[in-house]
Amino acid sequence: MGVFNYTFHWRPAFQALPAMLEGALVTIQLAVLSMLFGIAIGVVLSLMRGSKNRLLSGFAVTWVEIARNTPALFQIYIAYFGLGQIGIRLDSFIALLIGITFNNAGYLAETFRGGMRAVPPTQTRAARSLGLSAVDAYRLIVLPQMFRVVFHPMTNQMVWAILMTSLGVVVGLNTDLTGVTQELNVKTFRTFEYFAIAAVMYYLIAKFVTLGARAIAWRLFRY
């Protein structure tokens, strides 16, 4: 029994590239959608958390703590198996999207809360005393500084979102990159070859996001 008793078959794997690239597009689509919804809900949650209404802040705290203290796969299971019990049957794409969005929103709410605290109220007062309107003070002084603080955590969350989309296969999704790869794997049992190509693709997508974010940060945040 030698080390390479196994013969690698890369040719069929490379022939599957177009199908896998299509899967990669679904992966990116899922990650982007979950981030957009996650940002919107995250902003709302961070505002709710600061509210004096106990019900609102309690709701936000519960969401954030569940999102941060249970596995992402658990959150996806709740959307897929759990909601089914109370009569809401979701297909795996939607269940995955809901699970990742729930997770993103929880983490981003904390990020935004930190961002809001990072801009001292003296800044607003200074802007107002220089004659800016309340809206302009917020738009031109507070928001840009907040954005600077939350930008890096947000790009991290985007990479996390991409990695989390791979969990769709566990609830039966077969259109994203991991799902397509698993379908090919089941047909051919060339597990290593197909998943190695998928790994390279995920790596490239993640790098594209980090490098893109770095370029944007360089463009936006230099003095």
């Binding site: 029994m1 030698g2 080390v3 390479f4 008793n5 196994y6 703590e65 569940i66 941060r68 203290n69 249970t70 596995p71 992402a72 796969l73 658990f74 299971y77 709740i78 198996f81 759990g82 909601l83 089914g84 019990q85 109370i86 990479v159 991409i162 990695l163 989390m164 989309t165 791979s166 969990l167 296969v169 566990v170 991991t178 597990t191 290593f192 998943f195 190695a196 998928a198 790994a199 995920y202 790596y203 993640a206 790098k207």
Partner: protein
């Protein structure tokens, strides 16, 4: 009481799953931290070009989904002619995965100590090792510990994925119960989620308090 088909045996099954979750977490964290300290110190102290390959390798572990890493390792290790249980594969992959994140934390911690402080230590006659142990370690620990606690909790939650290659940890055991008792998935999942929460929440709170106390005392 709650009307459920869940028996004490089933609850025990979940608790056993939680035991595996904790065991894999412990192994991954201990091995991953040791490796991570080694890699992180190397990345922070050796000349930049010499650790570029290491940096690239560790970056791969942080940029490829853990699920893919598990499947790859699970299919590659038999190719090498080595027989390994899914449990062993899981521990190996998670340890390397942990080390990749831990290396970044350690690197950041070591680099957070001003170079002037370390030069001062060395010019006072401390050896490299003494400098590391007496100066860098205590100063860097404050920077590293909160992130390290976060990493530990992250790895604990990530162990949920090893169910895919056949280790019956907490989430997988809840899924097995769900397949057997198809009419109450929400209840079973909530028990599993509660166990995760009970493990994770106190530790994350402890980490937050520690961070707060250090910030106040600075």
């Amino acid at each position: 009481m709650i009307d459920t088909a869940l028996s004490a045996n089933d609850i025990w099954f979940l608790v056993q799953g939680a035991g595996w979750t904790l065991l894999i977490t412990a192994i991954a964290i201990v091995a991953g931290t040791l490796l991570g300290i080694l890699f992180g110190v190397a990345r922070a102290t050796l000349p930049g070009w010499s650790t570029l390959p290491l940096g690239f390798l560790l970056d791969i572990f942080r940029s490829v989904p853990l699920l893919i890493q598990l499947v790859l390792a699970n299919s590659f290790i038999p190719i090498l002619g080595i027989r390994a249980t899914p449990f062993a594969v899981s521990c190996l992959v998670l340890a390397l995965y942990t080390s990749a994140y831990c290396a970044e934390i350690v690197r950041g911690g070591v680099l957070s100590v001003p170079l002037t402080t370390r030069r001062a230590a060395r010019s006072l006659g401390l050896t490299w090792w003494q400098d590391m142990k007496e100066i860098v370690y205590p100063m860097a620990l404050r920077v590293m510990l909160p992130s390290w606690i976060g990493l530990t909790l992250g790895v604990m939650k990530d162990t949920a994925l090893v169910g895919w290659i056949g280790v019956i940890e907490l989430l997988k055991s809840s899924q097995i119960l769900i397949t057997r008792m198809a009419n109450e998935p929400l209840f079973i999942l909530c028990i599993a989620g509660l166990i995760y929460f009970l493990i994770s929440f106190p530790i994350s709170r402890l980490g937050a308090r520690l961070e707060q106390r250090w910030r106040d005392n600075d």
